[in-house]
Amino acid sequence: MIESPGVTVTRTGEHGAFGGELLTVNFGPHHPSTHGVLRLIVDLDGEQIKRVEPVIGYLHTGIEKQMEALRWQQGVVVTDRHDYLSPPINNLAYALAVEKLMGVEVPPRANALRVIMSELTRLSSHLVWMGTSGLELGAMSMLMYCFRERDLIMDLNEEISGFRMHTSYIRPGGVMADATPRFLEMLDKFIREMPGHVDEYEDLLTMNPIWRSRTIGIGVLPAEDAKVLGATGPMLRGSGVAWDLRKAIPYSGYENYDFEVAVSNDSDCYGRYLVRIKEMREAVKILRQALDKLPDGPVNVDDRKMLPPPREELETSMEAVIHHFKLFTEGYSVPPGDAYVAVESGRGENGCYIVSDGTHKPRRVKFRSASFVNLQALERMALNHMIADMIAIIGTADTVLGDCDR
């Protein structure tokens, strides 16, 4: 067996179809195409893959343990860091779980802003996926085009929250701050331009002969296998199963938006690519509806036990000072019990399971990450393909190792 990373060892006693021995090759953990730090132990017969064993844990940061030491409102900052390509969606899962256990409903404007941030994040996550996967399979200019538009989304993040990546914008009880008029203007411009950019990506990839020959028929995952292996997100929809949490178990008012679930019956890497392209177009549609119908009103729940009072009240009201002091020294407590909320991230079902013992800190926070479960389907997809196809298969599975290892 392999003793240390980077060492290739021949296993004896097992023979391939051509009479040669199976070769065990170590792939990663520091390989540019593994989207993070993923190590694979691959058994090869010639160039054919006969066994894949993913080794994960290189990006394990123990955020579930850290959150047990933080107060409920402080935990939001940690959730940003687990799936680092979609921070607001992680915030949303955590915020919804805390609100569910506390029995709190956020105002409609907060819900609409949450939908806007989720869809922007989905776009940004798919852009990073498409840029890097294109780069790995020989379409180098994809990275430039995709990161150009991703930067616009970063600017939007910065305008609304002050941060470009780890926004911590969605919090239990609402959102951090109301959208500024400049944000709404920038968003409007972005929505008008984005469909044209998606056309550009399609011009570069959809009929590109190299892209097609590297992805069509590669990494086939039949629908029944995808369901059995628990795959979610574009992995499941790329296999022809129209399962989307935004439609099936709506949250944050997704039932009020008109959009289609992107499905492809190809079941291969190309099908998963088509699903993501369609999802980007649908995300723009949702953004347009959310912006046009953006309701007026508060963006936070009116609960002084959960969120700090406005600055001006502190000068006139003793009660506001007490609430402010209590909130920033002790925090709020959540009633004993547990709750699970699942949201649809760019990768699939990212859920948050929380357990409270009635104190101001969580007893347990568990993140159900899509990458962790989807990665288990890797062997099923890669079997009997060439080692070079592994790049396409890992790429279109779109695992984020920060999400996987937490």
Partner: protein, 161 residues
């Protein structure tokens, strides 16, 4: 339909339905629920109830299986309580394949031993790690960090090394 003799307790917390089953019948309960249509195991995890005065718990470790029926759609949470050192329960990886890594993770972080698992090794922590970090009696910040001043390698002067 799940045998009512298997259900020790049931209820709804924060709009989530749950049932409690005896730990030694976990495989029967999950097989029955899978036949009922709960074909997806969303996640499997453990909660350590060490010194939790808020409620009454029959044992220290609570194992949680979140199941989903994709056709309805409906969720159901299945709980079971175990004790012991190490706590032991039957593996369900052959009923629900995604449980394979989840069980490895629960073993890694809580030290729960799943009998019948094909390769119960650490998955997130390094292979030579001692202890199970998500247990409540495992301190935060208790480990030495490499390259910090406390780390013994860097405390040794060059001439003594």
């Amino acid at each position: 339909m799940i045998d009512s003799a298997l259900v020790v307790d049931k209820g709804v917390t924060a709009r989530d339905e749950w049932i409690t089953v005896p730990a030694d019948r976990i495989r029967d309960a999950l097989s029955a629920l899978k036949k009922d249509g709960y074909r997806l195991l969303v996640f499997l995890t453990c909660v350590d109830h060490l010194v939790d005065a808020s409620r009454e718990f029959p044992a220290r470790y609570e194992l949680v299986y979140q199941l989903r029926d994709l056709d309805k759609p409906a969720d159901l949470r299945l709980r079971t309580f175990i004790d012991g050192d190490p706590p032991r329960i039957d593996s369900v990886h052959d009923i629900f394949p995604p449980a394979n890594w989840d069980e490895r993770e629960t073993y890694d972080l809580f030290g729960v031993v799943f009998a019948g698992h094909p390769g119960l090794t650490r998955i997130l922590m390094p292979d030579d790690w001692v202890g199970h970090p998500l247990r409540r009696d495992y301190p935060v910040g208790g480990e030495t960090v490499e390259f910090s001043e406390e780390h013994e390698i860097w405390q040794t002067p060059p001439d003594e090394a």
